[in-house]
Amino acid sequence: MLKKRIIPCLDIKDGRTVKGVNFVDIRDAGDPVELAKVYVEQGADELVFLDITATVEGRKTFVELVGHIAEEINIPFTVGGGISSVADVEKLLAAGADKVSINSSAVKRPELILELAQQFGNQCIVVAIDAGKVDGNWRVFTHGGRKATDIDVFEWAKEAEHLGAGELLITSMENDGTKSGFAIELLKEIDSITNIPVIASGGAGGAQHFAEVFESTGVDAALAASIFHFSEVPITQLKNELRTKGIPVR
């Protein structure tokens, strides 16, 4: 049976993890490779590395880092942040990334999804959508969730699939950072109108939230950052709890 995936996300700046990390058994918490290895040992099913560097130098460092990650890590990983062209993707995939995640650049120029899917195959194209509510309607946000657009989230999700996205990473801006659970209704709706894997993101505060999102929606994976970094919800324990509830996990 296909398992539900648990995906820790690491924010990277100038080749180092930025969000505070609180692991007792790690030598250098700022080293993304060290942290990634801990997650693999704990049973993470996949990893996401998000480059939040804004400089050209930082980007180069990130590509080098992707090479190191690929050497050390034996599970799939996605990289994202600031990707806007076929050339960017080529570099990252050649360095050893399994998938790339695109966000604002796809909103700005949707054909990018098509170009990437044709060149590299849709299995490695993740379209990330930041969803926020504007006057009660779910709208697409860009620029790290800072800028609202008038694009309807559901229409955009369908278009992204149509253009060749292999997977959708849906973050609810309403839930992100609240630790009050995932945006169940939003995720349920997106999952029902598309036929590609959906990763839920934003709002996880405890194991019960992961159980809830898998029990009440059809999403394939759930992603979180700080609760894993601070060992608030250790992955091993999370998976045990999900298993107890009859949710298929690895």
Partner: protein
């Protein structure tokens, strides 16, 4: 020496990295002589079937590959190209295996089949120390049918060949190089053939 077949399909680097983690160096090559003389050959692949077959044929690699005698391991698209025919781009493949490759039918389950899944009916040395509760990482929209050469099956939408074998030719639909410890075990098993 281990040779990885060089062609226009992705993830060659991942396979090389996986071998390196096991302390084995591999050469990535499309040179027929080097492929024939290699101790073992790995045929990885992420990509589209008709484009990949065209690339192999243009270089005469199709004939080279199917006439190799050393242990050979196809991965993902590699497995599909070793079959008879693929619906992807209506492609005549290498024909090492009798099975055909089809697109997953429309169902309530999603395509691609992406993520960790376990296999059953495991046969042969490739699966030594691996059992049907172990999960491998899959990413594919096309599958090889079940047949007499199936050595592992996986069930997603329908039961399909997760692994095939004929003589020295082995192939797996999943990505052992991305399947954590279990995948590493399978690669180790292959290296020990």
């Amino acid at each position: 020496m281990i040779a990885i077949v060089k062609y226009n399909a992705g993830n060659v680097r991942s396979v090389q990295n996986a071998l390196h983690r096991l302390g084995v160096d591999a050469v990535v090559t499309d040179d027929p002589k080097q492929l024939r003389e290699a101790e073992k050959v790995i045929f990885p692949g992420v990509g589209e079937a008709s484009t990949a077959m065209r690339y192999l044929k243009e270089r005469g690699l199709d004939e080279v590959l199917k006439n190799l005698h050393q242990p050979f391991l196809g991965i993902c698209l590699g497995l599909q190209l070793m079959c008879k025919h693929s619906e992807e781009g209506d492609t005549e493949c290498l024909g090492i295996f009798n099975e055909n490759v089809k697109r997953f039918p429309t169902s309530k389950l999603k395509v691609p089949h992406m993520g960790w899944n376990n296999c059953s009916e495991l046969k042969g040395a490739l699966f030594a120390s691996i059992d049907s509760s172990d999960d491998f990482y899959f990413v594919h929209s096309y599958y090889a049918e079940l047949g007499s050469q199936t050595t592992a099956q996986c069930d997603y939408i329908l039961p399909f060949s997760a692994a095939l074998q004929k003589d020295n030719f082995h192939a797996v639909q999943f990505h052992p190089e991305k399947s954590a410890e279990i995948g590493q075990q399978l690669i180790k098993n292959f290296l020990e053939l």
